[in-house]
Every structure is written in C-alpha cells, then in structure tokens.
Amino acid sequence: MNRMRRAATAAVLAALVMPIVRNHDSFPLSTYPMYARQRDDVVVLPTAVGVTADGERERLGLDVIGMSDDPLIVGALLRQTARLGEGSLRVLCDDIAARAANRDVDASIIEVIEERHDVVARAQGHESLASTTVLTTCEVPST
C-alpha cells in the first residue's frame, strides 16, 4: 500500500510541475502566470461606454458590458471580440446596448473603444488618457 502511495505522490508532483516544463497553462494544472508577465505603465484598455444625448461618455459597469463581476473575464471578452473583427464587435455592441436598455442606462449610443492610459498616473489621480480608438458603435434600443 505504501508503495502505491509513494507512486501516487510522485505522479501528482510530476503532474504539478509539468506545466512549467512544457510551458503550457491549463486547468487545473497550471503555470500560475498571474501578474508574472512584464507590464508597462502605458497600456491599452478595451472597454465600452454609453454616449448620452448631450454627447457625454458614461462608464457602463462590468455587468452591462460583459455580464460578469470579474474584470478579467470582461477584459478577455472585449480583447477576444476585437480580434475576431468588425462582425463580432457589432454583435457584442448590440448585446451591450440591449443590456443598457434593460437597465435604463442614460445613453443613446454604445461605443466599444480602446483607451490608451498611463496607468500609474491614473492610479495617482493624474490625467492619464493618451488616446481613444472607437472600434464600433451601435444604438441603444428604446424600451
């Protein structure tokens, strides 16, 4: 029995180390790369905003943008959709617009955008926005 326990222990340890050896992240065996990669202080952040009738841009919240309370998941949704191209961005924009309408968000247009920020300056409360790129827009349906 102890021989089996030793063998099982060795197998489990090998499995835990294997992702690092193979450089392959998966689940539940992982390289645990959280916060490991180099990150510059100037970054592009994808998001979506509502534009009011007065032309003001309003932040929408995680739930409206990506139906999640996790910024990691919503960020991944936006990045991946942007990679898929204009068609996918339009579909996502319409989804966001429908959720905004359901939640009575004060906006007539939704913009899916990328903002370029100096994040260290922003965290310190300084002006940080370097540029904004509009990826797609769509109208918020009237309810």
Binding site: I20, S26, F27, A76, S88
Partner: protein, 332 residues
C-alpha cells in the same frame, strides 16, 4: 525504495510522507474543504448558471474538456452544478462519502474546467479542486461524519484503528500540492517576467493596471492603490518578498515554526493582493489551502468539548480502538 526507518534524506522524506495521523485530522480537513465548496458554489451560483449562456465563438475548451468542439448543453451545466452542490453538502456532512466524494470531484472538475474554457484561464479554483480530489478518494468520513454516526448506531465495528498512514498520507499529499503550487507560481514570475520582475516595477504597474481597468469599466478600485503606487521604493522589497514567499513554500513542511511563519506570510500576501487590487483568492485567503499543514483535530476537539459531544456516545468498538491507539502511541 528507501526503507521508512532509514536516516538518509530519502528515509526522512518517506517518514514524513507516510506519517500517521488521527482520523479526526483528515475528517476536519474534509469538513473545511466541504464547507468552502458549499459556500463557494452557493455564492457563485449565478456565475456558474450563466456559463450556459456563453457564445460559442468564445468557447475554447481546456483540460479534461479539450475534446469538446462546442459548448455543453445548458441542461448539462445546470445538472452538473446541482450535482456538485448536493455532493458538496454530502462531503461536508460525511454522508455516503465513498460515492459522494468522487461525485463531487468529477462534477467540480467538469464545472471549474468549463468555467476556464471561455478564452480566459482562471486561477482561483485550481488548488481547491486538487484538494477536493484528494479528500474525495481518502477515508475522510471515518470520524465526525454522518457515515460514522450511522455505523455507531448500527453498532458496526469501526473501519480499523483510529490513527494511521491512511489518514496521514492524504493530508501530506494535500500539503505537498499546496507547497508545489506556490513554488510553480514563484518560478513563473522569473520565467515569464525575467529577473527584472524583482525590481518591483512590474508589480507596481500590475496594481496600477488593475485599478485603471476597474475605472474604465465604471467600477470602484481599491482606495489604497493610488497612495501605494506613489511609494515606488516599496515595490522592490514587495516583489522580492512575494517571490520568496512563493518559492519558499516547502519550508512550511519542515517545522512548526517555519509553517506558522510561512502561512502567516502567505495569507498576508493574499490579503495585500485583495486590498490593493480587489482580486480575491478565497481558498488561501481564508486559510483552507493551508489547513493540511495543521493538527486540525485539536481545534475540532475543542469544538466537540464545547458542544459536549466528545466522549458521550462512544461505542465499545471505538473505545477499544482508542485504547489500542494509546498503546501504539506509547510504544512509539
């Protein structure tokens, strides 16, 4: 293979790995893991329900679900979620553990893997799943469980002595999994970030990035992120300490003092991440990840005495086991 009595390093590792432990210690670990999973699934229930609504274009299966070419039917997701919750309650109570343990391990494997199969691997659930698998296939319901109560009610003989390697080894395996997981995370910092990770700039930028990301989504970020980012001198020691804690995890296996020191540091690290970045790893933050490093039964005994059920209802068989244990412990 090294004999357990050997004084070599291999012998000492062997003795550590195959150390005896009381059944109550493993039972206490089962209760903690079961309680965590029940609460986690209950709190995150809507998140798992919404997995059924994911767009097929984003589906990117990983792990044991690698073979899927399309998202699972929503009914399968909902059924798996309910099955996991029911099995977790059973594991918590130690009811039908031999069946419900593996059912929980299987259901959680599918559920958690599926959650990471949407183009974004999440790292909150890895360790809890690995510990669930250990508990699921261990004799973790021999004490402090519905199974034990039923056996006692039927006056059935206990399932062997109340202490042994069969209770100790799963705990040592779980402790090893915790330690190795942290080492891998520490190695990743240097592997992916390079030695430059230790100068602290990347850590500072990650904290600033998470705050800015919440901002652009219209959410509040941590109020300490801004002041913290201003203290640029702090980040080199923080980065070095973070990697040292992760790579130094095996030290927790060497002695009680080192264990206490390391666990305090690791919980502190997770508390810092939660406070500065609003990113919560609940399993280690609430200490469950480190539970197999401790003599949990001592706390359990205190709770038992508190409820005055500790010595009242022992069967003759259980008293005989305890007497044998006392003799064995005395001789060794």
């Amino acid at each position: 293979m090294t004999s357990p009595g050997s004084r070599s390093l291999g012998g000492r590792v062997d003795r550590w790995l195959l150390a005896s432990a009381p059944a109550e210690r493993l039972a206490a670990f089962r209760i903690l893991v079961g309680l965590f999973v029940v609460i986690y699934l209950a709190v995150r229930f809507p998140v798992f329900v919404e997995l059924a609504d994911g767009r097929p274009s984003r589906f990117d299966p990983v792990g044991v679900l690698w073979f899927l070419d399309a998202p699972l039917d929503p009914a399968v997701i909902h059924l798996t979620l309910v099955m996991a919750l029911v099995a977790a309650v059973h594991v918590l109570a130690g009811a039908g553990h031999r069946v419900m343990g593996p059912v929980l391990a299987g259901a959680l494997t599918v559920l958690f893997t599926y959650r990471s199969s949407w183009s974004q691997l999440l790292h909150f659930e890895n360790l809890v799943l690995l510990h669930v698998v250990v508990v699921a296939f261990a004799p973790a319901s021999h004490r402090w469980s519905v199974d034990a109560l039923i056996r006692r009610h039927r006056d059935a003989p206990p399932p062997g002595p109340g202490t042994g390697t069969r209770y100790g080894w799963p705990l040592r395996l779980a402790a090893l999994i915790t330690a190795v997981t942290y080492v891998v995370a520490g190695v990743a910092k240097v592997r992916y970030g390079g030695w430059g990770w230790l100068d602290g700039d990347t850590l500072r930028n990650h904290i600033a990035y998470t705050a800015a990301r919440l901002d652009v989504f219209g959410e509040d970020h941590s109020p300490i992120a801004g002041p913290l980012v201003s203290l640029s001198w702090l980040f080199t020691p923080l980065a070095v300490a973070g990697v040292a804690i992760e790579v130094g995890a095996p030290a927790a296996l060497l002695s009680r003092r080192l264990r206490n020191l390391w666990v305090t540091a690791a919980v502190g690290m997770h508390a810092f991440v939660a406070a500065a970045m609003y990113i919560v790893f609940p399993y280690p933050l609430f200490g469950v990840a480190f539970a197999p490093l401790f003599a949990l039964e001592e706390a359990g005994d205190r709770i038992s005495r508190w409820f005055r059920v500790g010595t009242r209802a022992r069967s003759p068989g259980q008293m005989r086991d305890e007497a044998i244990d006392d003799v064995v412990e005395h001789r060794t």
